[in-house]
């Protein structure tokens, strides 16, 4: 494996392999000194053209725990502001000696383009509406540990609720959950569903209350407030009434069900109830698992001498 661009590129076995490796990374994180020398001398550059708190710090922490050197490329104070093209920026940084780029960009496909311009590994940390593969992996890991499903998600029912149309998290998660065998239900108003949703491996519902009772996982997406201006939703309040997680809805979930959210959360919109009071909330586990999953990805891309899978 050279790059991680999309969950599409991974088989169910690849995903399981990365999640197995994540177990080791979780253990490293629990040591009194949570650092191993595995990626000494490797240089990881994070290149975020879009704002991010958790993904960026999570990758940074992951690289440091594996003893890689990290370089944060601050787009806002770089020559990008003088009009330097993306390609020139990449080639310039590559010339300094880089082993991996961690890229986030508002346009879909940018990480894919980068692979043509650099010899380094490229990790997609979110591109437009397209993909956010490490988020999907950490979500899979959270479900796997939360429901003790090491061997896959056969028989699990997962609802992904909210603005699926504009969500790279939804695209990655749905792919990954379905590959591991889960039944996935998208729950959203018709305006927030993607076109060609019939080609996705999912069922579709517009009524959250009717599916709550059969869920093993309730996955809430962030309502992107900027979408309000596009006329896709009458009001945040109406969204909240129909699709927000209220105390009553939380009560209708089966006792073992997990509640997940990729963050950042809109309290009072998709999350009406205080998640800290939900016994099934694993939202902070998602953040903690993010570091370990990203360590596994970095190690798999930079630490293996030859391809373990032997993709012949």
């Amino acid at each position: 494996m050279k790059h991680l661009l999309s969950i599409d590129d991974l088989s169910a076995a690849d995903i399981t392999d990365l999640l197995d490796l994540t177990d080791h990374m979780v253990e490293i994180g629990q040591r009194p000194i949570p650092k191993v020398p595995a990626l000494r001398g490797k240089n990881v550059v994070s290149l975020f053209f879009e704002d991010s708190t958790r993904t960026r710090t999570s990758f940074d922490t992951a690289a440091k725990r594996l003893s890689a050197d990290t370089l944060n490329f601050a787009v806002s104070s770089s020559s990008v502001n003088k009009g330097e093209s993306l390609r020139d920026t990449i080639e310039t940084i590559t010339a300094m000696g880089v082993d991996a780029f961690v890229v986030r960009h508002r346009s879909s496909g940018v990480p894919q383009m980068l692979t043509a311009w650099t010899t380094a590994s490229v990790i997609n940390a979110g591109d437009g509406w397209h993909q956010h593969p490490t988020q999907a992996l950490l979500d899979c890991y959270t479900i796997r540990t939360g429901l003790n499903r090491r061997d896959g998600f056969d028989g699990l029912t997962v609802a992904v609720v909210g603005d699926v149309k504009h969500s790279r998290v939804a695209r990655s998660d749905v792919d990954a959950f379905a590959k591991l065998g889960a039944r996935v239900i998208l729950v959203a108003p018709p305006t927030l569903l993607p076109t060609h949703v019939e080609t996705w491996p999912v069922e579709v519902s517009h009524d959250l209350d009717s599916v709550l009772g059969e869920l093993d996982v309730l996955y809430l997406l962030r309502v992107q407030r900027e979408r309000m201006d596009d006329g896709l939703l009458p009001s945040l309040r109406e969204y909240s009434t129909c699709y927000g997680l209220t105390a009553a809805r939380a009560g209708a979930l089966p006792g073992h069900a997990l509640v997940m959210h990729p963050g950042p959360m809109n309290r009072g919109v998709e999350m009406v109830v205080d998640p800290g009071e939900l016994p099934g909330s694993v939202i902070l586990h998602q953040v903690a698992n993010g570091v370990a999953v990203r360590m596994a990805v970095l190690f798999r891309l930079l630490g293996a001498g030859t391809d373990l899978k032997g993709h012949a």
């Binding site: 080791h24 253990e27 040591r31 000194i33 191993v36 020398p37 630490g303 001498g305 030859t306």
Partner: protein, 170 residues
Amino acid sequence: MERSRRREVLSADDVGRALTRIAHEVVERNHGLDGVVLVGLQRGGVWVAEALAERLATAGAAPPIGTLDVSFHRDDVGLRPIVPGSVTEIGFALDGAAVVLCDDVLYTGRTVRAALEALNEYGRPRSVQLAVIVDRGHRELPIRPDYVGKNLPTSRDENVTATADGVVIE
């Protein structure tokens, strides 16, 4: 033809007797079992640690056992595929402990070097000792075992397997 090269060097009984002797040597060297802990190296050393603990239990209190996966401390990361064993499990503090590292076969010494480095991340033991079933030579680092089941001269193209069922060269 290849099968004919296979020969058993130690039987299951021989391995059992070697373990019993090593157990007594551990007690002798440490003047008892105070502070002694066993750490088996993933994967081949885990059964050694368990078998040793079983014998030490008859000589006093059974010492705590941990297992250590050194994949991320190896010096050949990036040179060859690294396939981690099971996850490391050390459920006790190592500060001040006398750690007996257990492995099946001692060869180049590189795994032991990685293990010594990995142990540092869990604490500062008062001493680290090394117990192996077979020392087959060809060390590439200044590392020597404290307890040895059997010294076994081998050539580099031979394979040595040490289990509770015996030691086999092929």
